[in-house]
């Protein structure tokens, strides 16, 4: 029986979500149609939107469905970028009035590649906020960068929790600083959603966010919480102006045109609700499994280091990330896979194009460390037996991976 410990890549669809999806697929009707069939579809869609909104501390109207999490991140960053330039009187020609983007190092590629695109095509000046050694944004540095001419900052974007090493970011502190200086903040909460509580309005209130500033946008994805792949959402505060990326029929406040996927939304809502009903208990349970897995691995093999925050409160409950000295992560992955245990060397987006993790590099780790990286992530259905299976497969896999060691660099066949 295969053991699945790569829930951060994607997690099994929940039964509630599958059932909701199949039920909604039987409905006829475009939610934008005026007749009764359309109204029925619209009702399911909007109820779903509201149920998702409730898990994020916002109203339904503030939830914009997208094709996936990456689209939500693109929409937030590019959309806010353009509206912030227009808002400062730019007609699109000449130098940008607000050229600066403050972005922590070690963000997901959805962000990294989007801001890079803005730099190349739109004259954005991307300023990288450094991370500390556990992968947390350096608030002191961030504040210094933000306050140095805040008026020139288009927006700030950051992860709620790092998708590779699981470090939870100081979102509320960053939200407070951005609220104070009147700059909008987008948070990519795709890895965090369903593992830690998220309350957008709560944060806006606590940080006294003015209109259009502070935490205004937040991205989530359904398939990371047991919903289907192919649907994500951007939470967009009512007060935030944002240029759309996709034009057409004007659906979803004209922010994202295109016929909406009622069945996917229904499944997303079912998963979101199910996850949040038992969020705290599941997080406790996962964290206990996580801690047992960490302790077990550290005791089982030499030369293994935990990356990210060792403090249990600072780390996603389902995330474990190790570096194994003298091993290649892909050797370990292969050997564990052969033993029936599925893990990851990093984020799945990079699979096939091996690169040392930019997250670990941003945390000041060496390329060798990055090469020996392995991410093990738990989900709501992970069990003690899964952890046992990993821990029992690890020593043999590790010994053999050590032997394979650095064959990529020098071998006995060299002459």
């Amino acid at each position: 029986m295969a053991v699945y410990l790569d829930h951060a890549a994607t997690t099994p669809m929940r039964t509630e979500a599958i059932e909701a999806m199949v039920d909604a697929m039987r409905l006829v009707g475009n939610p934008a149609s005026i007749h009764s069939a359309g109204q029925q579809a619209k009702r399911v869609l909007e109820e779903s939107r509201e149920r998702i909104a409730a898990t994020l501390g916002v109203d339904g109207i503030e939830v914009v469905f997208t094709g996936n999490g990456t689209e939500a991140v693109n929409l937030a960053i590019k959309g806010l970028w353009w509206s912030r330039q227009a808002d400062a009187g730019s007609d699109g020609s000449g130098p940008r009035p607000r050229p600066r983007l403050l972005v922590p190092a070690g963000e997901h590629h959805a962000t990294v590649d989007t801001v890079e695109w803005l730099a190349v095509h739109e004259g954005a000046i991307v300023e990288e906020v450094p991370l500390d050694s556990v992968g947390r944004v350096r608030l002191d540095e961030f504040e210094r960068m933000l306050r140095r001419d805040a008026a020139s900052v288009a927006l700030v974007t950051m992860l709620w929790a790092n998708n590779e090493v699981g470090t939870i970011q100081p979102v509320e502190e960053v939200a407070r600083l951005t609220a104070e200086v009147g700059v909008p903040l987008h948070v990519d909460a795709i890895a965090a959603y369903g593992q830690v509580p998220i309350d957008v309005r709560g944060i806006r209130r606590a940080t006294a966010a003015p209109r259009g500033a502070g935490l205004v946008a937040l991205s989530v994805s359904a398939h990371k919480i047991g919903g289907p792949a192919g649907i994500g959402a951007l939470v967009l505060d009512r007060s935030a102006a944002l240029e759309p990326l996709i034009h057409g029929g004007g659906q979803q406040r004209k922010v994202r045109s295109g016929t909406q996927d009622v069945a996917a939304a229904a499944a997303f809502a079912a998963a979101a609700e199910a996850v949040h009903e038992t969020l705290h208990a599941d997080a406790e349970r996962m964290a206990a499994l996580r801690d047992r897995l960490i302790a077990g691995a550290l005791a089982a093999v030499p030369g293994v280091r935990l990356s990210g925050d060792a403090d249990r409160a600072g780390r996603l409950p389902g995330n474990v990330h190790f570096s194994f000295d003298g091993c290649e992560g892909d050797s370990l992955l292969f050997l564990l896979d052969a033993a029936g245990v599925a893990v990851s060397t990093g984020s799945a987006c990079q699979a096939g194009v091996p690169e040392p993790s930019h997250v670990l590099m941003a945390m000041g780790r060496s390329e060798a460390d990055a090469r020996g990286a392995l991410r093990i992530t738990l989900g709501h259905d992970s069990t003690e037996a899964d952890v046992d299976a990993f821990l029992s497969a690890l020593p043999a896999a590790h010994a053999q991976a050590l032997k394979a060691g650095l064959a990529a660099r020098s071998t006995s066949f060299d002459r």
């Binding site: 290649e328 892909d330 050797s331 394979a404 990529a408 660099r409 006995s412 066949f413 060299d414």
Partner: protein, 367 residues
């Protein structure tokens, strides 16, 4: 599995032979290029996907292993260094020697595998005493024993070439189609994989720069100029743009490249004839001859697709006392460049290989 038809069919045959097979695609570049370069380039995203689709059809696991650093150091940088030194290297050979049957093989053995199987056209046989021998493939036109000539007996012991006995590539394609492999009609790759547009000259110029130098004849008289000696290879005729014709009116060929002086020497075709080649960097593919210091008959081949030429080989000490393999062909070889690999055959068997360090022309300078 490169994503080509040969490695896909090789994998299929290995599976069918009852082996436990895992497909591995080598990531040889951190910059995987773009789509639609097709088979031009062994490290593109499309090739990796083709390889994975073949593995799916065969029902075997598939992984991408990163050898990009080793590949850059041992193959790409070596290629640039060799050209800069006026030699003509064979990067495919270097890749077999240092990557596929060294880095990859070592890693595979350590991970518990027994052998690396590839889609190369060559045969491995075992003699009565259990020694491995490397032989030419049944498909003469596709024979790749030349580029495998660098393998030693330790490497041959763990190499497996399931296509060696197939009489033609057409049969391999037909088999691929029959097996439902989507790469059955994928074009062959001919170019150097890390130069996907095939423009070796331009690629080298970008990396080693251009510098105007002289083109001289064998008497030393300047007959033209060039933009960098690295762009020339011995035996080349085109691309010199010599304004003045030779005294005898015959076309001129590159006879020698002198990188230190950034000079290219040209002369008539006859002057390309090489009477002797020698090199001190040699290996034996399997058992070494019992007494290589006694001259022995063999055939020598100096390019992947050149005809073999009957020759006599002997291991001697060079001027500095270093053992050197000296090969005298029965008829002169044409267009030999230092840095090229000479592979020695006895019948179909690959005996060994050496890198050509020095040559002796068959035609004296004033001929």
């Amino acid at each position: 599995m490169s994503g080509g038809v040969d490695s896909a069919v090789a994998a299929a045959r290995a599976v069918e032979a009852g082996h436990e097979v895992v497909g591995v695609h080598l990531a040889l570049s951190r910059m995987p290029g773009t789509l639609r370069t097709g088979s031009r380039g062994c490290c593109t995203i499309e090739d990796s996907m083709d390889a994975q689709r073949a593995a799916n059809v065969l029902g075997i696991p598939y992984y991408v292993w990163d050898f990009s650093e080793r590949f850059k150091a041992d193959v790409v940088d070596d290629f640039i260094a060799e050209y800069s030194a006026g030699r003509t290297p064979n990067p495919c050979m270097r890749c077999n020697e240092r990557i596929k049957f060294a880095a990859l093989l070592e890693k595979a053995l350590a991970l518990g595998f027994d052998a690396v199987a590839t889609g190369h056209y060559a045969k491995i046989t075992t003699d009565g005493a259990g020694n491995r021998e490397l032989h030419r493939a049944s498909a003469e036109a596709k024979d790749q024993s030349y580029v495998l000539g660098v393998l030693t007996s330790e490497q041959l012991a763990h190499a497996y070439f399931p296509l060696g006995d197939t009489p033609s590539k057409a049969l391999v394609r037909a088999e691929a189609a029959e097996r439902g492999l989507s790469v059955a009609q994928k074009p062959d790759s001919y170019d150097i994989c890390f130069i996907p547009d095939g423009d070796t000259k331009g690629w080298l110029a970008e990396r080693v720069g251009t510098e105007t130098g002289d083109i001289v004849d064998r008497s030393g008289a300047v007959v033209g100029s060039h933009e960098g000696a690295h762009a020339f290879t011995v035996g080349q005729r085109r691309g010199m743009r010599l304004g003045t014709p030779a005294a005898d009116g015959k076309p001129r060929f590159v006879l020698e490249v002198r990188p230190k002086e950034n000079t290219v020497v040209v002369g008539p075709k006859e002057a390309l004839a090489t009477a002797l080649i020698a090199g001190s960097r040699f290996t034996w593919a399997g058992l070494a001859p019992a007494d290589p210091s006694t001259a022995f008959a063999c055939e020598v081949q100096i390019r992947a697709h050149a005809d073999p030429v009957a020759a006599v080989a002997v291991l001697e000490a060079d001027a500095a006392g270093t053992p050197e393999l000296v090969v005298t062909p029965e008829t002169p070889l044409d267009g030999v460049a230092p840095g090229q690999t000479a592979v020695i055959y006895v019948g179909t068997r690959v005996l060994g290989q050496f890198t050509i360090d020095r040559t002796v022309s068959a035609v004296p300078v004033d001929a």
